[in-house]
Subunit: 433 residues, 2 copies
């Protein structure tokens, strides 16, 4: 992973960080690094995520999915929500479909769910259902619906289902009763940090992707952690984001120049928002996509408030897709180059256009979209997030603010008495129709 | 369209707007409404968009796509970028695939493009290529690649292509030469406001959706415009967004509770960013998705800075997808209800949880995802945006800040001499690897 923070310096951008400030910040990075290393070594809650490249056993995952070899798997459906779905979607999205398409059921939208189950060739579809507690309402409701669809088509779901869950709970019981391949969610790792574990890697394994390569990439990221932001790409990203937020960049736009990194931007959004959005702090993650959003968001980025950091993420290499020669007037300059050339030019032009407008931006690059680079990218972002959390002094690994809504929803559904559910009826209305 | 701004009042939220302030603001809304009405009547640049429900002829569109009846169209591929793609994706996304799947090529990503052309059944795929100038680099490059793919498979692309473009330029010439069905982009309507025109409705027509119904919904929105935010849902949305931005809500989260409105959130993001992101003003549009993002963004919304407005968008009715009964302990409360019940409960709980945290939020509802309601929703958002622009005093219908990057990219690709291209080489670097 390569991180270029030149366009976030105060000589270019407002807000921006001076080189002197970065030097001073680097002393705090050294302290934070010590704290992080201790956490990793002791496998403390949350920090254990940064030990996953070492702790995750590729063989265990590959053995668990072996029974699926008996089926000609064309599609892999992940049933989960939040961190139980996004890691898998991100890994499989970035590497492409491989031998089987990637599908995710991470919402409880009846139209979408019905259409998806209608469209999928269920006999050739593997299901990976993920919930640590085994009781997540959205995931379990969806899984009940999915199971029903298999049964309605006379397809044996037990031959096509892999479960990843905690040591007990309804999903564990189900796996035991039906003799399903069952994997453990890793201990001490919040869902949003679990991409490089059973939670994120099962679909990739079914699709024939290089699970060991993903972990090796993560391990390269692990080995690159060091006590200085000037030596460690992940810390450079985490530290500059922290420093820019302090100086007014309350938003962090993640703008990959690659369609296959769209899920990555969503994964980033969860990682950043749930980990750092607390105590009245935290950049709002904003998902964008290059080159498309040049025709959508760029006007605002250049001419709106200077309250944003834009981070570009891109592979340095693209497959060659030539643009055919054309004699159409005004377009001949395109012919003979490739779509990748065009994408690269658009990227460089956009990056320069933000710098010219003085908006801070950061460039994150990987060599190409392969297993090693993707593993390194995910690990690097996790380490960046953990460092930012240390510098901010927040509790990076919890998400206490979501409990209120969970209790209210459960109360509304008749799952018990919760005072939060009563607040729903008291809503202040000013309806215009 | 129903807009409930109760949770944006200062009695609930910070920032929030007092009822007195709203009354005073309503006087300015009355003035802005007069300006907008005049613009619509005179078909002034930009304002002409709000006359589209009247000015767009459904018959013209339906006649243009008639030749495609000879082909068994399974997929509709829109080739465009920005406003030339998002409107079509939004309309077709919201109404579902109908008789043919919705595909969009609005990026120049070589991996995605190659994979898409590999996967699509080209003989059964209709192409709608859209560019007002007929010279948009990304669109034309993609179209050249698409045409090549058809030829490589021995499929006649001229029988499957519909063009929407301006009165002249390369695409118009091509349409004339090859005798392709060709439609006109509407006069005086910026791309991001063109969903309810040829630009946005051709794929829907090919898919067999009710184009007249979409326009009728838009017309209902047109007829609901009035001189008071308390009587006009679109103006209620535009005025409250303006007032919240003035009070510190520099971000506007669009959070549909419907997977089929994901493209709508992207469309909103373009509409809001390009129209209002100028003069150091403009809310940053942030796309979210309920219920999924409760497990991703909600922690930040409740516990982070109070610099956001969250707007929920939802259909009031869902198709019934029952959750099967289960005797699994702790889950039996789910059985017997539907996915829609669960989604509604999650929505109400999340809305209440933001109100309890004092974060301003707005509820936008439509009856259901059908042609009339979707037409009304799109029209309502456009009118909301135009009103907000009037109140802010910005030039809503232009996007001058994107030109710099376009010139730089063109220079980098050898399409002429542009000084902006030189700035690219002068980038400030601070690379950490």
């Amino acid at each position: 992973m390569y991180v270029d923070i030149g366009n976030a310096l105060s000589s270019v951008a407002t807000p921006g960080v001076s080189c002197d400030s970065l030097e001073r910040l680097d002393e705090r990075v050294a302290d934070a690094h010590e704290r992080i290393e201790r956490g990793i070594t002791d496998r403390e809650f949350g920090y254990a995520a940064l030990a996953l490249p070492e702790d995750t056993d590729a063989d265990v995952i590959e053995t668990a999915v072996e029974p699926l070899d008996d089926i000609d798997v064309d599609a892999v459906l992940t049933v989960g929500i939040g961190g139980s779905a996004l890691g898998a979607a991100t890994v499989s999205g970035a590497l492409g479909p491989g031998s089987a398409g990637t599908f995710v059921l991470d919402n409880v939208d009846p139209r979408r769910t019905a259409r998806l189950l209608d469209d999928l060739p269920l006999a050739d579809t593997a299901v990976h259902v993920v919930s640590r507690s085994g009781t997540t309402a959205e995931t379990l409701a969806n899984f009940l619906v999915v199971r029903d669809a298999y049964e309605a088509e006379g397809v044996d779901w037990t031959e096509r289902t892999v479960v990843t869950t905690g040591p007990d709970g309804p999903l564990r019981t189900l796996a035991d009763e039906e003799d399903l391949p069952a994997l453990d969610v890793p201990d001490g790792v919040p869902g949003r940090f679990s991409a490089l574990s059973t939670v994120g890697l099962v679909p990739a394994a079914i699709q024939g992707h290089d699970v060991s390569g993903l972990l090796a990439g993560g391990q390269a990221g692990r080995e690159s952690l060091s006590g200085s932001l000037f030596d460690c790409p992940a810390y450079a990203l985490g530290a500059i984001s922290y420093a820019l937020e302090e100086r007014g960049a309350s938003q962090h736009v993640c703008m990959p120049y690659s369609e296959d990194l769209e899920f990555f931007a969503e994964w980033f959004a969860q990682l950043w928002a749930e980990s750092l959005g607390k105590d009245g702090l935290g950049q709002t993650p904003v998902r964008a996509l290059g080159a498309t959003d040049q025709h959508s968001q760029l006007q605002l980025y250049r001419a709106g408030r200077h309250d944003k950091q834009v981070t570009f993420v891109r592979p340095r290499e693209h497959p060659a897709v030539p643009i055919p020669e054309t004699d159409v007037e005004g377009l001949s300059y395109l012919g003979g180059s490739t779509l990748g050339d065009l994408l690269d030019a658009e990227f460089e032009a956009t990056e320069a256009s933000l710098a010219a407008a003085g908006l801070p931006n950061v460039r994150v690059e990987i060599d190409r979209l392969d297993a090693e680079s993707v593993g390194e990218l995910l690990y690097g972002y996790e380490a960046a997030c953990v460092l930012a959390g240390e510098l901010m002094g927040v509790e990076t690994f919890t998400q206490p603010a979501v409990e209120w809504g969970k209790r209210a929803a459960r109360g509304l559904l008749g799952g018990g008495e919760f005072e939060e559910a009563d607040a729903v009826a008291e809503k202040q209305r000013l309806l215009v129709e």
